[in-house]
């Protein structure tokens, strides 16, 4: 009696730019475990804050401070910049708020919802890698869980108009972060990541190709089934994530000899919440962030349930 059922976990978005705005629409349209309590930016005239107000969401232009003032907020999506996130992270941690880092700062572990979220469920700061990382590391993981991947190479192609100045000024960062994640999360012993920006009009959808070189004998059908199964899982939270054709084996001359190479081609079409649908590279970040937040919220609620 009088006991209010704790049904949702309060979340906030830090950063009222395009990424923050698309994420806001995703939280609002899903009946998940989070309640969007605040969108905080630093520019009172930003379009993102106006859009949040129009949806009846509380906003602030006092950035991090507004979030720290609200002790009920448990989950914070940081959609600012790597530099800002490095400054924000310590106080979020001190206040016991989970930070879902959408920037390249990578203070906390890399997470991909279908691969390793459970391992990091108690972590207070997790990082979403990069668009290419979210798209390709689960594919490498799917191969590696059946046949050990010696070398993986991932190519991420996105429409030029969907690539922001942050990425353009620091291509090295994308290359290194994504390759690291292909090893750490995907499980490949060696890895390369290559981005391509294509300016075709009308803009192209995001595509990813994965080449996974395997040195041992393996069951081709089991590898392909494993890939198809992880794609089905991912498409449950990113509806436009799909295979282009059935993955196949191609023999390639490599530094380790002529070896079978699993070739996986993937396309990501966005949901069109705020970004245009071709910008699957942006949508995959907000959709993955939403999924991570929702799973954490469910975990948080479950833990509360148990302690009661």
């Amino acid at each position: 009696m009088g006991c209010k059922v704790l049904s949702k976990v309060k979340a906030a978005i830090l950063g009222s730019g395009n990424i923050g705005t698309d994420l806001m629409y995703k939280i609002l349209k899903n009946e998940g475990n989070m309640e969007l309590a605040l969108v905080a930016g630093i520019d009172p005239n930003s379009e993102g804050l106006a859009r949040a107000q129009a949806k009846g969401i509380r906003t602030s232009h006092h950035g991090l401070d507004a979030i720290l003032e609200d002790s009920e907020i448990k989950i914070v999506f940081d959609a600012t910049s790597a530099k800002a996130h490095k400054l924000n992270a310590p106080s979020l941690r001190e206040q016991g708020k989970l930070a879902i880092d959408m920037t390249p700062a990578a203070i906390g572990p890399f997470v991909v919802p279908t691969v390793n979220l459970k391992e990091h469920i108690e972590s207070m700061n997790v990082n979403l890698i990069s668009c290419g990382g979210q798209a390709t590391t689960p594919l490498v993981y799917a191969v590696n869980r059946v046949a050990s991947v010696h070398y993986a190479e991932v190519i991420t192609t996105a429409a030029s108009v969907s690539i922001g100045p942050g990425t353009r000024q620091n291509v090295d960062e994308f290359v290194q972060t994504t390759a690291n994640a292909v090893q750490q999360v995907g499980g490949a012993k060696l890895a390369r990541a290559i981005p391509v920006f294509n300016p075709a009009e009308p803009p192209i959808n995001m595509t990813n190709s994965v080449y996974a070189v395997i040195k041992e004998e393996f069951d081709e059908e089991a590898v392909i089934a494993s890939i198809q199964s992880i794609v089905a899982e991912i498409s449950s939270y990113i509806p436009g994530y799909r295979l282009k054709g059935i993955p196949f084996i191609d023999y390639r001359d490599t530094p380790w000899g002529r070896l079978p190479t699993v070739v996986i081609m993937n396309e990501v079409v966005g949901d069109g919440d705020f970004f245009p649908t071709y910008a699957g590279n942006l949508d995959i970040m907000t959709a993955s962030a939403y999924k991570v937040g929702d799973l954490y919220a469910a975990h948080f609620l479950g833990t509360k349930e148990v302690s009661r």
Binding site: E153, V171, D172, V196, P199, S209, G245
Partner: protein
């Protein structure tokens, strides 16, 4: 007309044509001859630029850094250049090549994406390198867009910007418009890099010179990606006939082209159906051998793949799209049967 600076890129563009199989011995011999002939710049690296040894672009048989080292040690007067494509190479490889003693870095991007080159131009200049911008697939954009992009490179510190006809798709009027627009808008040098898909590599290069180009490229016997480039020895012969004395020794070039480079060719570099369809559709020349591989694997025609890649406006570095197109064409074919 100004006497141009000639860069020989047999050991970079030609790397595609030999499936990245150059050995240190080949590099030594070719550099020795080019250097002795008086060619001022010799480009050496993976065909797709530093760190290009990948599945997507093709693995190199020997480390390109070993090849660059040999080239630097061998050249007495010539400067050694390397190609760099942001995203394929990173600052690490750039620094490594600089440490090995290259003098020139040629930074290549698709001709609408110059803003990704800033960090690399700044680093190259910081390391004391001459930095040249390469606007690839220049046929896809009008002169005014190329001017905007070239000006960005100039603002990052470029010493020269090239109009690069990666697909061999430009005809002479297109070359003239683009090169003269850059000459007019920039205060730095302008270059032109040709491919021979339409049989215009030499003609287009001469047109570029007439339009004011300061730097031009060639490869011995035309040994370059796809239909190959303007043959260096032919260029020198033509320049001599035009009374533009580069000081380069023609007979050494003819000998090395005939005796050293021609035997390296896996297949003759001619304008066959694959190369003509590639140039006609405006497809990046380095795709050729990858297209042939995919055509064979999936039982479709290389020229069909070229045509579809042109429609999709594939850019440099998109070899994976070749497989995607081949799979789709094969599926369509299966449906028809």
């Amino acid at each position: 007309m100004k006497i141009p600076r000639l860069t020989d890129t047999t050991l970079r563009d030609g790397d595609h044509a030999v499936s990245h199989s150059y050995t240190p011995e080949m590099v030594r011999t070719i550099v020795q001859n080019l250097d002795e002939a008086g060619v001022p710049v010799i480009e050496v690296s993976h065909g797709s630029g530093l760190n290009g040894s990948t599945i997507q672009q093709g693995f190199s048989k020997y480390s390109e850094f070993d090849l660059i080292k040999v080239a630097v040690e061998t050249a007495k007067q010539a400067k050694i250049a390397s190609l760099f494509v942001p995203g394929i190479g990173t600052s690490n490889e750039l620094r490594q090549a600089a440490e090995l003693g290259i003098s020139i870095l040629r930074i290549a991007v698709h001709c609408t994406e110059a803003d990704v080159t800033e960090q690399y131009f700044r680093l190259a200049k910081e390391l004391g390198l001459e930095a040249v911008g390469f606007l690839m697939m220049s046929h896809t954009q009008p002169a005014n867009v190329l001017v905007e992009q070239a000006k960005l490179m100039e603002s990052y510190g470029a010493d020269c910007v090239y109009v690069v006809d990666s697909a061999g798709a430009l005809v002479q009027s297109g070359v003239r418009e683009r090169v003269s627009a850059l000459k007019e808008a920039l205060s730095i040098e302008v270059g032109f890099h040709a491919h021979n898909n339409l049989g215009l590599a030499i003609g287009n290069t001469i047109t570029a010179l007439e339009a004011g180009a300061d730097q031009i490229d060639g490869t011995l016997r035309g040994l370059g990606a796809g239909a190959g480039n303007a043959p260096t020895e032919v260029l020198v012969a033509v320049l001599n006939k035009m009374n533009l004395d580069t000081g380069i020794n023609l007979s050494i070039l003819m000998d090395v082209a005939e005796e050293v480079v021609a035997p390296l060719m896996q297949t003759p570099i001619v304008i066959d159906r694959d190369n003509l369809s590639s140039g006609y559709a405006g497809v990046y020349n380095s795709f050729l051998l990858h297209v042939r591989h995919a055509a064979e694997k999936f039982g479709v025609r290389a020229s069909e793949i070229m045509e579809e890649l042109g429609k999709r406006k594939a850019v440099a570095g998109q070899e994976d799209w070749i497989l995607d197109v081949a799979v789709e064409l094969a599926e369509k074919k299966a449906l028809k049967v």
